[in-house]
């Protein structure tokens, strides 16, 4: 049975086994963590996992392939509305709903990706921004289908009976989101290590050189857009389950801008950057709104303090850590290694960002 043997060999390749091992360890640790914390924290954990899916996909498009998208919130909306419509009057299994929502967002992403492949830099930014502004309006226009401003409700995913009757639904939601996020990260990680991933980077770094090397630039850009949209659709679908409501207000321009700011703060072009960015995206507003309400400020100040701090974090982060949290950590690590190896002369604080370890 050569096919099976080949499959086993594939599993034993260092990249795949390393990614699978890491994901498994992370999964077990996160399940343990989730069992120790309260319902609200489980809910927050699920939010982080959902944003990891969306930002990892966006980082593949913007960080790895170099296509700036300011409209990924709209693609999340496609996934969320697919889920809400599928679940209206039907009781479909979760995995089927996730896959169909993913397919719906991929389809929209493919159409838009073909258009986007002709556009560069700010022109692509403008077109995707228009997508983020325009698409939610369709939901209000065709309110008999999409529920208008009030939106559509989504039943929460039911925990299986073997977990016990009093198993908190927030924890089950967190488990689902964590599992999907880790599967997404493993798949994206492998994609980035493959020839497809290398062609993404080649197109980003030098289009003409990539074309000379035999890469079909336009096709590569469309593929990146579709993969990225699939992630956004998956995240949107889980977001619908998580929030229990899909309404246009949840998918405005603000969401798209939050996603792009998350990957720049976390670190462009790496999956760990997406994870860092999602943590910042969820925890900084949580932390600051808690702080603002405990300070007894006048309401006009207290209500706007979280926004002010988030904006200031964006500004300061760009001035202090231009390569994001991931870049900053790698730099620290590389400096530490250089010092320990006594080979500081080699680096002198100059770090090759693609290979900071200098290996």
């Amino acid at each position: 049975m050569p096919a099976v043997v080949k499959g086993w060999r594939l599993l034993l390749t260092p990249t795949l086994s390393r990614h699978l091992g890491l994901a498994l360890v992370a999964f077990i640790l996160l399940l343990l963590l989730s069992s120790q914390i309260g319902a609200y924290d489980d809910y927050t954990l699920a939010a982080v996992a959902i944003f990891v899916i969306a930002t990892a996909g966006l980082n593949l498009l913007t960080g790895v392939n170099g296509q700036l998208s300011l409209g990924h919130g709209a693609l999340m909306a496609v996934g969320a509305y697919s889920t809400s419509l599928l679940l209206r009057g039907h009781d479909l299994p979760l995995i089927l709903v996730l896959l169909l929502s993913l397919a719906g967002a991929s389809l929209v992403g493919a159409v838009f990706g073909v258009a986007a492949a002709r556009l560069r830099g700010p022109y692509l930014a403008g077109a995707t921004l228009a997508l983020a502004v325009g698409l939610p309006q369709i939901a209000t226009r065709y309110s008999h289908v999409f529920g208008g401003e009030e939106g559509l409700t989504v039943p929460p995913p039911a925990a299986p009976s073997w977990l016990g009757a009093d198993f908190p639904p927030e924890r089950w939601m967190a488990w689902i989101a964590i599992a999907v996020a880790l599967v997404t990260l493993v798949l994206l990680g492998n994609l980035l290590q493959s020839s497809v991933g290398r062609s993404f980077k080649a197109v980003r770094d030098h289009e003409a050189a990539a074309a000379l090397a035999g890469i079909n630039v336009a096709r590569t850009q469309v593929v990146a857009f579709v993969v990225s949209s699939a992630c956004a659709g998956l995240a949107g679908s889980l977001f619908a389950y998580w929030s229990g409501l899909t309404a246009p207000a949840g998918f405005g321009v603000a969401l798209s801008l939050q996603l792009i700011s998350a990957i720049v703060i976390g670190g462009l072009g790496s999956l760990s950057g997406a994870v860092w960015g999602s943590i910042v995206l969820v925890f900084v507003p949580n932390f600051t709104s808690g702080m603002a309400s405990s300070l007894n400020l006048p309401s006009s100040v207290g209500n706007n303090l979280p926004l002010l701090i988030y904006g200031a974090v964006l500004v300061v982060a760009m001035l202090v850590v231009p390569y994001g949290i991931d870049g900053g950590l790698r730099r620290l690590l590389a400096l530490a290694r250089a010092r320990w190896a006594g080979a500081a002369t080699n680096h002198k604080g100059v770090v090759d960002w693609d290979d900071p370890a200098g290996s």
Binding site: T62, L68, A115, R118, L119, R120, G121, P122, Y123, A125, G126, A127, L129, A130, L131, V133, G134, L135, Q137, I138, T140, R141, H206, E207, A208, V253, L257, I260, S261, V264, I265, L268, S300, V301, N303, N304, L305, L307, L308, Y310, G311, A312, V313, L314, V315, A317, M318, L319, P322, Y323
Partner: protein
């Protein structure tokens, strides 16, 4: 037919605002290769400063000038303090930086001036002009809006095409290194470019405030439509910005009038994509090839 005239005049007034916004974005893009997403928020802030002066008893025109001057200073400060240090960072960083500035300004405004929706006075009547027995849906203030945007554009054109300073600014934006060798203070020119652009933005904020009413996010949609207008015309072309902004005004007015206002932005999206498919660098792109 009458409806068409109404929609056209409406589109012309709104389009002139979008044109001013687009022009501000294009000036900054040409000077520093930055799309300034905080442009609208900066204009919002200076309009609040105008309202603040009005409430302290300043006459309208003094408040008007104060807002424009504050816009000028704010633009210079933002370029010098925030944008200059990230010049060498990856290009996306400055986009995020201006987004951060947008959030800071939109949070700061309600803290300082109160978050409730405020009305903003207009210098002239906002009732339609009477031509004999016919009332045209075009007010003296609409006329003032149109004229002041046109006058400002003419002044900028004079500055850039007819003065020594304008030539230096264009040179600094076109090729910083060569300009520096020729003795042009490039940094100073870029700061001036930001300051002037921010003044244009402040004017747009003042002119649209009476019809949109003043609240911390009132300039967001003006920024989005101004940006789409600039993209439509081509980010490297000031005349393109004006044409793009005006087209945006007409397009939104017609789509809103004939298909319902909730399809306005979808219509704008469709038009933008359609134009970009034919001309990926905007209507007035003069450089055919991309820089590789």
């Amino acid at each position: 037919m009458q409806r068409f005239v109404v929609l056209t005049l409406n589109g012309l007034t709104e389009g002139s605002i979008y044109a001013a916004m687009a022009l501000a974005l294009v000036m900054i893009w040409r000077a520093t290769r930055v799309v300034n997403f905080a442009q609208g928020a900066m204009a919002m802030f200076t309009t609040y400063l105008a309202l603040f002066s009005l409430e302290r008893g300043a006459p309208y025109w003094l408040a008007f000038v104060i807002a424009l001057l504050c816009g000028f200073v704010l633009g210079a400060v933002v370029e010098r303090v925030l944008v200059r240090p990230v010049e060498s960072a990856p290009p996306l960083n400055v986009v995020i930086l201006t987004l951060g500035l947008l959030l800071v300004l939109e949070a700061l405004a309600p803290m300082l001036f109160g978050g409730q929706i405020r009305s903003f006075p207009s210098a002239f009547s906002i009732v339609g002009i009477r031509l004999g027995s016919l009332q045209v849906p075009f007010s003296s203030f609409d006329l003032f809006t149109l004229v002041s945007v046109l006058v400002l554009m003419a002044l900028l054109l004079l500055l850039f095409q007819r003065t020594d300073l304008g030539l230096r600014m264009r040179a600094a934006a076109f090729n910083a290194e060569v300009s520096r060798l020729l003795g042009i203070r490039v940094g100073r020119m870029l700061t001036l470019g930001w300051a002037l652009a921010s003044l244009v933005g402040a004017l747009a904020g003042l002119l649209i405030a009476p019809s949109l009413l003043l609240y911390p996010t009132y300039m967001d949609q003006v920024l989005v439509f101004g940006f789409t207008g600039a993209i439509l015309g081509g980010l490297d072309s000031p005349p393109g910005a004006v044409i793009g902004g005006l087209s945006m005004g007409f397009a939104l007015s017609y789509v809103g009038g004939y298909f319902g206002s909730d399809l306005e932005t979808v219509g704008a999206l469709v038009i933008l994509i359609a134009v970009l498919m034919v001309r990926p660098r905007g209507l007035l792109a003069w450089r055919a090839q991309r820089v590789v």
